[in-house]
Amino acid sequence: MIIVQYLARRLAFVIPLVLGIVFITFMLVRIGGQDAVGMLAGPMAGKAEVEMIRRNLGLDKPLWEQFFIYAQSVLQGDMGKSWQSGRPVLDEILTRISASLELLLISIALGTLVGVPVGLRAAMKPNKAFDQISRIASLISFSVPTYWMALMALFVFFLGLGWAPPPMGRLDLAVFPPATVTGSYFIDSLLAGDMQAAGSAAGHLVLPVLVFSLIIAAPTIKQTRAIALEVLGSDYIRLARLYGYGKGTIRRIALRNSFVPIITYIGAELATLLAAVALVELVFSWGGLGQWGLNAILFGDFAAVQGYVLVLALFASSVYLIVDLIVLIAEPRMRR
């Protein structure tokens, strides 16, 4: 069957893709002049000591051998140790990723729920007032840097109005985090029946989610509008009009045909947003993967940087894969 063939072809590309990703990640920390060994050893270390660390890390071997060793250990789930904390990078990532995902997924849901309908509505009557207003609004919020919007939101809603909690993590200091089930503090505290924790988690979520979903909604409006406009200008919609179809029917046909390109777009967005969320985390001290990754980059914690970049790339690739599968199901042309 064609689906199976397509799937096989698509999956076959995953292997070189992952290898390519691992290779780029590997090279990333090796192109620079930053001396990881020097940092590890500290300023007091003697020459012999430095040599020993080099040998322990395998840095005295030729580059291709280093890559081979690195690739092998990565595929076995060993990403090395962070020199800042001394803990395995994989553990560090696993404990933090749920915080990032909680913020990311809620924001994406909200941003999409706003962006897609607004974009569709704008496309229905192009160049009318609603279209112009939404277009300008999306251009403006598209031009505002995430971190600056977060800072301004903090200033207004925390310092000015006092509505938002201080930007220090995901819960009030006095509240204990719930037992981990999904990784989302809000959902987990609901599951545990801890209303105080749930309220605190929700309160801390509001501002970062608001900022990030605005950032997401802006390009979503623009893309949805463009996609819907293209569908509305297609030959089959033209013919539907000439055949005297009612407004509702035409709208339904247009919606169905816009679905796949919109899903593809949102998928592509989602893939890069795990990186973008880092800036929101930074301003709100969220304590997620992103904040940890930026910190690792700033301090040259190279095993951690590699781990961070690798996770982002693998996340993006799997999102692309999932989107391709959704398209495969929703799109009869692919099912041949």
Binding site: S234, D235, Y236, R238, L239, A240, R241, L242, Y243, G244, Y245, G246, T249, I253, R256, N257, E331, P332, R333, R336
Partner: protein, 338 residues
């Protein structure tokens, strides 16, 4: 009363250019014709002559900046110009229907063939799904689609061009229209398939006693399938009449040029070499053809009247009576070759 009566139809494209000047393209300049039940009218002319635009005007499908600025279109005695979309929708798709030139992209890619055939019926009448399905199957048989039952479940992308055009014909005819407009129905199809589709169409139209307008570049199609012909140039019908009469005894220099300049009777390409069409943004006064006309004279600076030169045969030319005599074939073919 005619089934369709188009009178003095003017369509303009109005837009402002980047230099803030209002620019008006006079695309249709007084198109007038009538069509009765059972008649098949062939519309010919070069690209930009206004054939498709006439069709779009009748269907109420003018795009964007194009507007009907003058004239009337009456279908079964009802005025179509200025009609609101809801009322128009009770006529198009049922009373008047159209077949377009890009069948593959004109089918909804996400709906099965059967679904689309049922949809076009249910949009216009409260018909049950079961009845609509049966009618759709009958229609598929009528357009000679093999294994109609299986085809109902097929997707548009599984169709060949010829197959898609048959589906489109089925969709167009399933609601029993009185008027069919076929806008270059076979452009883009293989030559062998073209004849099949046209023969099929001619048969269906004849058995239903419908009126048909076939828009084409191909004089061969006109002479083979049409009863009447309308030759368009720069937004006007310059000559009209019975097909045999007009093709054997053309009374407008442009018609003459068409007939003579046509290698293999395909107008479009060979045609453009003969001469340029007038700029629709700056139409001259008088006869629009005079710049290319071998017979042009002083009098051509005034608008030529529609002269009746035979029963049901009229031409817009000051020299309509002399055209055939004054333009020997050899001279024309030389112009064509240069």
């Amino acid at each position: 009363m005619s089934l369709l009566s188009v009178r003095d139809l003017h369509v303009h494209f109005v837009k402002r250019d980047l230099k803030n000047q209002v620019r008006t393209a006079k695309a249709l300049n007084g198109v007038t014709f009538e069509l009765d039940q059972g008649q098949t009218l062939g519309m010919v002319g070069e690209t930009g002559a206004g054939k498709s635009l006439t069709a779009s005007s009748i269907m109420g499908g003018l795009a964007g900046s194009a507007k009907v600025v003058q004239g009337s279109i009456q279908f079964e005695g009802k005025e179509l110009v200025g009609l609101d979309v809801e009322t128009l929708n009770t006529i198009r798709g049922t009373g008047i229907t159209i077949i377009v030139q890009s069948p593959l992209t004109s089918l909804d890619p996400l709906a099965r063939i059967g679904e689309q055939l049922i949809r076009v019926q249910q949009e216009h009448a409260p018909i049950s799904r079961e009845d609509a399905r049966n009618k759709a199957l009958d229609m598929l048989r009528a357009v000679q689609i093999p294994e109609p039952e299986r085809r109902m479940e097929a997707w548009p992308h599984e169709m060949s061009g010829g197959m898609a055009q048959r589906i489109l014909i089925a969709m167009a005819l399933v609601n029993g229209p009185r008027l069919l407009i076929a806008d270059e129905p076979t452009t883009g199809l293989d030559v062998t398939v073209q004849a099949q589709v046209l023969d099929l169409l001619a048969g269906l139209v004849h058995s239903r006693n419908m009126a048909t307008i076939i828009i084409t570049h191909d004089l061969g199609v006109v002479s083979h399938y049409c009863t009447r012909i309308a030759v368009m140039f720069a937004g006007t019908i310059v000559e009209t009449g019975a097909v045999d009469e007009v093709l054997n005894n053309p009374r407008h220099p442009y018609t003459r040029e068409l007939i003579d300049s046509v290698p293999e009777r395909i107008i479009d390409r060979g045609y453009r070499k003969v001469g340029r069409a007038p700029d629709l943004y700056h139409l001259p006064s008088g006869c629009l053809f005079r710049y290319r006309c071998p017979m042009a004279a002083e009098i051509c600076h005034s608008v030529p009247p529609a002269k009746v030169v035979g029963p049901g045969h009229a031409a817009r030319c000051h020299f309509a009576e002399q055209v055939n005599e004054a333009m020997p074939q050899a001279a024309m073919s030389q112009t064509a070759a240069s």
